[in-house]
């Protein structure tokens, strides 16, 4: 089954395993390790089974439809290069799992570790076998996220949290850059498919968007591979558990950057820009990484900087644009992964068994753990580039490339020298690591007595070191064919002739190697004493920390700038915001009028009806009065507001809109009742307090607001007048008028529009209404109102006193009988109003009325009962379940809409006919009327719910503590 299914299986397995691992019990160390180990081994087996298909330079494809309309498919593709990486990921993954089983202590929550680890493995496999660039970016970001979780695994540790956050910030922002770059690339090529992108190298390089695409993609790759100037996150990520470092920071995650550069090498490389950007970053990382590594006191820190340096070497090789350079780069990716993973594991063992990673404190460990020490020595020799080890081979190829001239520039001239110096540094830090840790006098005051680790913990290192040796001695027989298939799949026809022999004779690269080895040893001898004492970090540059610069930037971005923006744009005051809103609305309306030329139209004095004018005179006075009184005389303002509402209502009647008039009138009543209910909890404010604004500023503010109000009002007048005096254009009104009776079966066009033609809008609207009512209800459920602002009115006090004087009367009797006659009338009105509501509802389809108006009328009937007899009395006798009304209404409306599906029509298609009923006559029977019933029910429920929720507040009591607090406040 070495075809498309194996790719999907390889990708899906780790994620499934991750899910399973997450749910295993926290002490299941062995089960977890078995699970993770089996999954990585299975991945390895699948990868091996794929080899025959990719060996000859071919590729396996497999595709799952995802968003075909966008050209996005989960398309997987494995060629020789991806195969090599898949082997690396699953193979080293397995070794790391084995290692982690012994490394993690029983107190650590292992399920979390293995779950993240497997998910990371899946994401990493996804990166290398994606056949679609967008998919690649998705997995790329997943690796960033899981690496964040893995680095921050010991989240009680502050440095782990900081390191994880930094790694996430840097790599994810790089990933965003990569996404943008890939989108540009897709735009240039016209497809995100990797095969098509790889086939259009010339088109990409000659496109005008090449440079932005290149810069963005390189931003992603360089951040991921911790290349200068984004290298600083890697040393900080060393707070991760060592298995994580061994896996992520040697073999996989940081390799993703160079993997991508190699993957896109055929299409992006070869240009002047590529040479400079990649070459400069690579050279700086190579040199600085090696230099910094010498001065690290933490073993893992040393290895981290060495990783930066080695990745810099790979990057530099890729920058050259020569096929031989690419071969060397791919080869070194493999070699580095093997020796660095083993070194990280050795560092972990040292840490684990001795309790410290500080080179200054460690020494002479050889006598305690000779096998580990020997293994570490071989691995560091490979890192230093000693002959007969794999590191030597790729370094030799690198030297050979460095002395070639590729692009005449200072970078190219400097390359051989930089190469030798950096290699010498590599020798120095490798010797330092070995000599400092394993040789010298026996260590004193270590936290633990060091000893050899369990065999299985050392086993992965043995295997990797063996690989280093074998590849170093007989490269052609071991890695040769695999490297060849990887190289062919990247370079295609450009694949050069190369030789993997150990001995090429006395060539220039050989001499360079010798110089580097000798120079590095000499440098170590010179620095030895200084290094044993110095603090961490290289002299002079010690202070210039990338980490500090990064933190500066983060603070500036996320704190200072955010604060500045907030103080500039945001405000904790509502008034400026509303003011801004009014100004923006005004300008938005004024700008097109100004730019298009605005004529308000001729002023027509004819046809002014004096009665209409009189009504509006009252309306205007009411509006202004409400505005004037709203501060000190709330009741008066409410009455005046009602006056303005009534004038609006009359206007609707006057201008042939009876439906609106009915609804407005009913809503007016309910709104007034609602606000009246709320008035009692507002604080007292007397006219006596009123003083003219004293400061000039306050006075100016009032004038400014007045000016804004007047301009807004005048603007509205002008626009309204201009529109009304123009002849209307052809509108869709005619359509509705003509079809209303024929197709909607109703003569009241407004109602037919609401419940038939535009029923879906109405459906949305009643949903909103229901949500608002539930929100009101929810808010009031938890809410205790402020203490009443008004003490007992004088009248009630007299009534109380009267009750107390008379022995035959109970306390509060008089109050209960207060307004007795009106309340009896109100109670009698209950059925009358219900009949009215029914009447409004039934006639709605043909005459003014309808569900909305009927619903509000019905709600008024309920609230009238509350007003007449008090909340307690009503609720003892009448169970109103407004929430059920709301639900029922919504259900009816939805069912009526869905009913159309049964007959094969779209949602909310209505059917209408007139039925002849004996005695009653012809009645309309449209499904739209049923829909209207839903509207009615919902409106009743929503309105009653809001009114009752508010009315209920009056019988609720403040908690004693709150009352005391409120009283204190009053005194204060």
């Amino acid at each position: 089954m070495a075809d498309d299914t194996s790719l999907i299986l390889m990708l899906v397995m780790p994620f499934v395993g991750s899910l399973i691992a997450a749910f295993l019990p926290s002490n299941a160390r062995n089960a977890e390790a078995w699970l993770a180990g089996c999954i990585s081994l299975a991945g390895l087996a699948l990868a091996i089974s794929c080899y025959p298909h990719v060996a000859a330079g071919g590729a396996i494809h497999s595709e799952i439809q995802w968003l075909p309309s966008l050209g996005l498919n989960i398309s997987l593709r494995m060629d020789g290069f991806a195969w090599l990486f898949a082997m690396l990921i699953s193979g080293i993954g397995f070794l790391v799992v084995l290692y982690a089983r012994y490394y993690m202590s029983p107190e650590d929550p292992v399920p979390r570790f293995f779950s993240f680890f497997l998910a990371f493995m899946g994401a990493m496999l996804g990166v290398v076998i994606s056949g679609n660039l967008i998919l690649l970016v998705v997995f790329w970001e997943l690796t960033s996220i899981f690496s964040f979780l893995l680095i921050g695994y010991w989240h009680h540790n502050a440095s782990a949290r900081d390191g994880a956050r930094m790694a996430l910030t840097v790599t994810v922002s790089g990933g965003l850059g990569l996404l943008a770059g890939v989108l540009i690339l897709g735009h240039i090529v016209g497809s995100y498919d990797l095969d098509r992108v790889l086939a259009s190298g010339d088109a990409i390089r000659s496109h005008e968007l090449y440079l932005p695409a290149l810069v963005l993609i390189l931003f992603g790759a360089l951040t991921k591979s911790a290349q200068f100037p984004f290298h600083f996150w890697l040393p900080n990520a060393m707070a991760a558990p060592t298995p994580v470092s061994a896996y992520l920071h040697s073999a996989t995650m940081v390799k993703a950057g160079v993997f991508l550069m190699a993957r896109l090498w055929p299409v992006l490389a070869g240009s002047y820009e590529w040479f400079w950007i990649v070459g400069f970053a690579g050279m700086m990382s190579l040199l600085l990484g090696a230099y910094f590594a010498i001065f690290q006191q933490d073993i893992k820190g040393l290895l981290a900087y060495s990783t930066i340096s080695h990745l810099g070497l790979i990057t530099l090789l890729l920058s050259l644009g020569s096929p031989l350079g690419a071969v060397a780069a791919i080869f070194h990716m493999m070699n580095h992964a093997t020796f660095k993973a083993s070194l990280f594991m050795a560092a972990g063992i040292i840490d684990h068994e001795s309790g410290t990673r500080d080179i200054r404190r460690l020494s002479g460990l050889f006598r305690f753990m000779p096998i580990t020490a020997t293994l570490a020595m071989v691995a560091s020799a490979a890192m230093a580039g000693v002959p007969l080890l794999n590191g030597f081979l790729s370094k030799e190829m690198f030297f050979a490339e460095a002395i070639q001239t590729h692009e005449v520039s200072i970078l190219d001239t400097a390359a051989p020298y930089v190469a030798v110096v950096a290699s010498a540094f590599a020798v120095t830090y490798s010797i330092r690591f070995i000599h400092g840790v394993f040789f010298g006098p026996a260590p004193t005051d270590l936290p633990h007595e060091p000893h050899e680790p369990p065999f299985l913990m050392r086993f992965p290192i043995q295997l990797l070191v063996l690989a280093c040796l074998i590849v170093g001695i007989v490269p052609g027989l071991t890695i040769g064919p695999f490297l060849h298939s990887a190289v062919t799949s990247v370079l295609g026809p450009q694949t050069p002739e190369y030789s993997l022999a150990v001995w090429h004779g006395f060539t220039v690269p050989m001499i360079m190697s010798v110089i580097a080895l000798a120079g590095g040893t000499l440098l170590y001898l010179l620095l030895k004493d200084y290094l044993a004492r110095c603090e961490e970090g290289p002299p002079i540059l010690r202070r210039l920390k990338g980490q500090r610069i990064f933190e500066r930037i983060m603070v500036t971005l996320s704190w200072r700038w955010a604060r500045t923006l907030e103080s500039r744009l945001g405000t904790r005051k509502l008034q400026p915001q509303l003011r801004l809103l009014v100004v923006i609305a005004f300008c938005a309306a004024a700008w097109p009028l100004y730019s298009q030329g605005f004529h308000p139209g001729e002023l027509v004095w004819r046809g002014i009806d004096l009665v209409f004018a009189g009504i509006w005179l009252i309306g205007i006075l009411c509006a202004i009065g409400a505005a004037y009184q709203a501060k000190f005389h709330r009741l008066a303002a409410l009455i005046l507001l009602g006056g303005a509402g009534l004038v609006t209502c009359m206007t609707f009647v006057w201008l042939s809109a009876p439906d609106l008039a009915v609804t407005q009138l009913l809503v007016e009543i309910v709104t007034t009742v609602l606000i009246l209910l709320g008035l009692r909890w507002l604080p007292k404010r007397f006219h006596m307090d009123f003083t003219e604004p004293t400061t000039v500023g306050a006075r100016l503010r009032r004038f400014r607001d007045l000016a804004m109000a007047i301009s807004a009002g005048m603007g509205m007048t002008l626009i309204a007048y201009a529109v009304m005096t123009r002849t209307p254009p052809e509108t869709i009104a005619d359509f509705f008028l003509e079809r209303s009776y024929l197709e909607g079966g109703g003569r009241n066009v407004v109602n037919v529009i609401l419940v038939d033609f535009r029923a879906f809008d109405t459906f949305g609207e009643i949903t909103v209404l229901g949500i608002v009512a539930l929100t009101v209800f929810a808010l009031l459920r938890r809410f205790r109102p402020a203490p009443d602002s008004i003490e007992l009115p004088e009248q009630q006090r007299i009534q109380r006193a009267f009750d107390e004087e008379r022995p035959d009367r109970q306390h509060g009797d008089t109050l209960n009988d207060y307004l007795f006659v009106p309340s009896v009338i109100m109670q009698w009105l209950f059925p009358v109003i219900i009949v009215l509501a029914a009447y409004l509802f039934i006639r709605g389809h043909d005459l003014p009325g309808g569900g909305f108006a009927a619903g509000v009328a019905m709600a008024a009937a309920f609230i009238l009962q509350y007003m007449a007899a008090g909340t307690t009395w009503v609720e003892d006798r009448l169970r109103v379940l407004p929430v059920n009304w709301i639900g029922l209404g919504l259900l009816i409306a939805a069912c009526v809409g869905a009913g159309a599906w049964i007959f094969g029509y779209p949602f909310l298609t209505s059917h209408s006919r007139y039925i002849d009923i004996p005695l009653v006559g012809e009645v309309p029977a449209a499904t739209a009327a049923l829909f209207d019933l839903g509207v009615f029910s919902l409106v009743v429920g929503a309105t009653v719910l809001m009114l009752i929720a508010l009315a209920h507040q009056s019988i609720r009591r403040l908690r004693a503590s709150k009352i005391a607090a409120a009283a204190d406040e009053e005194i204060a």
Binding site: R572, L574, Q575, R579, V582, I608, D609, F612, G619, I620, A626, A627, A630, K631, R634, A637, L638, A644, G645, T651, L655, S656, A657, P658, L660, T663, V667, V670, T671, L674, G678, W681, M708, A709, M716, T717, L718, I719, A720, Y721, P728, A733, F736, L737, E738, R747, N748, V750, R758, D761, L769, V772, T775, L780, R784, P785, F852, V939, L950, A966
Partner: protein, 113 residues
Amino acid sequence: MELILAIGIGVLVGSGVWLLLRPRTYQVIVGLSLISYGVNLFIFSMGRLRVNASPVLPSGAPVDPTQYTDPIPQALVLTAIVIGFATTALFLVVLLASRGLTGSDHVDGREPN
């Protein structure tokens, strides 16, 4: 007719905007109500003003659209009235909750210094 209504709309909106910019919650709720009257009338007036036009169609007979008022703005305003009521209620409750929690009826939840 048009002039009167236009002035009326202007005054309603103007008074509303004035109240909207005041510091007390009650003023703002009254202001919003006034603005919603003005805006409803404005939307309604987009269908042009017709006096004594029949609001209801005759049954069965063919329809001459010029004889009727424009039903679309009316349908729009009808729902606007109901939704306006809902938002007023919501605002009223928020207003009361804010008053209960902060002890102040200032829009910012605290008295200005």
